[in-house]
Structures are given as structure tokens and as C-alpha cells.
Symmetry: C2
Subunit: 149 residues, 2 copies
Amino acid sequence: MSADAGAEMTAYVHQAIPILGAMGLEVTEAADGRAAARIPLEPNRNHFGVIYAGSLFTVAEMLGGAIGFTALQLEGFVPLVKSLEIKFLRPAATSVTASTSLTPDEVERVRAEASSNGKADFELVCDVVDENGVVVASTVGQYQLRRMG
Amino acid sequence: MSADAGAEMTAYVHQAIPILGAMGLEVTEAADGRAAARIPLEPNRNHFGVIYAGSLFTVAEMLGGAIGFTALQLEGFVPLVKSLEIKFLRPAATSVTASTSLTPDEVERVRAEASSNGKADFELVCDVVDENGVVVASTVGQYQLRRMG
């Protein structure tokens, strides 16, 4: 994704979900079935000086929306999160980046199933990594691409 | 908890974890092994006009800290979250309140085990309920009370 496209999607998500703006979240990748986002330590720190659990959740969870509105984009459909499990593995004392991807076959399967049935479930597995390359959290999220209204 | 005690703990958590202040989170109960917190729809809304998943996660997750620093309070110990599973059951178009509790026996077990071993795991089950009494999300979190440093 070009820097311009990243800035454009970042501006969009800040408008769509204001608390992502308050977290200083940036979308750094959203193309070709891949998505990534970054949050800084400030203003996401907690009383231990590391990133708060809810911010780590958010930077991972929102990738379902980023993929839902890019690789999975289907006129009249929206992505929803159904459930998510997160493991907190290490404290995060720097900015962190979350990333995830869907294979081309899985993108095709989800779009075809949603077109036929009005909805299709998909799973995203995500690692949240600090500036030193340490995995600080991992998530498995269950999402659905669903026809609106 | 008195209104004053609630306001005092709310001010503390806003200082400790600034993003909780940005969400407008209020601690409404934190005594006798019980904890509850509320967040308003604004500024937690998403592009569907309902509360964003990450804010629902947060209002539930932070109760581990509220209980960790009240019922489980032990000099030199802090509560940590190890993992959390959240199910999103219904959209939340109003403010929501999350609540959880530990039995007196469980409080005693966790404090005794932490004192002996330097750490003790505990589980919190939490419902997040909207103003109409509808459960919009449910969580199961694994926490640990651990000696600092």
C-alpha cells in the first residue's frame, strides 16, 4: 500500500471509529489479502508503562474491518466480529504492529459464500509485535461478512 | 460503593490508563469481591452507530484490575491479564455496564496462594449489558495476581 493509501485509510478509520484516533492507530497495510496497523506507546500506556491490554486488542481486532473493506469488499456487505481470543505474551514497552492475512483461496471462498448465502464466516489469526520483533500478543478472531440491513 | 468512592476510583483509572478516560469509562462498583464499570455510546461508537468491539472488551477486561486492587489487594502485588475470550452477542446502541465478581472463598484462595507462591491465577467471567438489560457481550478472562519486580 502506498503511503497515501495508508494515510487515507487511517483518516477513514479515525472518522468511522473515533476511539481509534484517540489511540493514535495507523493503518500501515491493507491490500492483497493482507492488513497491518500500528499504535504508539503513548497514549496507550498503562500504570506499568506498557501498552494497555485493550489497545493491544484493538490494533489486532480492527484488521478484520481493514480486510473486510479491501480484499473482501463486496457491494452492500459489511464485516462483523463475532468473537475473539487474545493471549498476552509479553509486556509491550514500544509501539506495536499487528498484522494478518487471508490466502487468495480463502478470499475467494468468503466472497463466493457471502454472495450466495448473504453471509460467510472467516477467521483471522494475528500477531502483535513490538519494535524489537517480540510477539507481545496473539489473537484468533471469528468474523462474518454479512449483507447489510 | 459510595458515589465518592466510585468517583475516586474512576479518577485513578483515568490517570493510570489514559485511554480509559478517552472512552469515558466510569467505575461504578469495586468492593466485596464485586466490580462493575460503564462506558457511554459516545465516544465509543463505530461506523454502525453502536459501541466499538475494543471498547466492549475494555469495559469488561479492566474489571480484573478493579478487583485486583480492591478485594485481592495485597501489598507489593499487582493483577495482570494473561488471556481473554470475548463473544459479541448483540450490537450495543446505548451505554453499557460490565460486571463481575469473585466469591469470598475464591478471594481467600487467590490471596493465600499469592502470598505463599508469589503468584496466583484467577478467572473472571463477565457480562456486558446495555441499558435495556440485553447482554451484548460476554467474556472469560484469565488473570494473575503477581508479586511486583
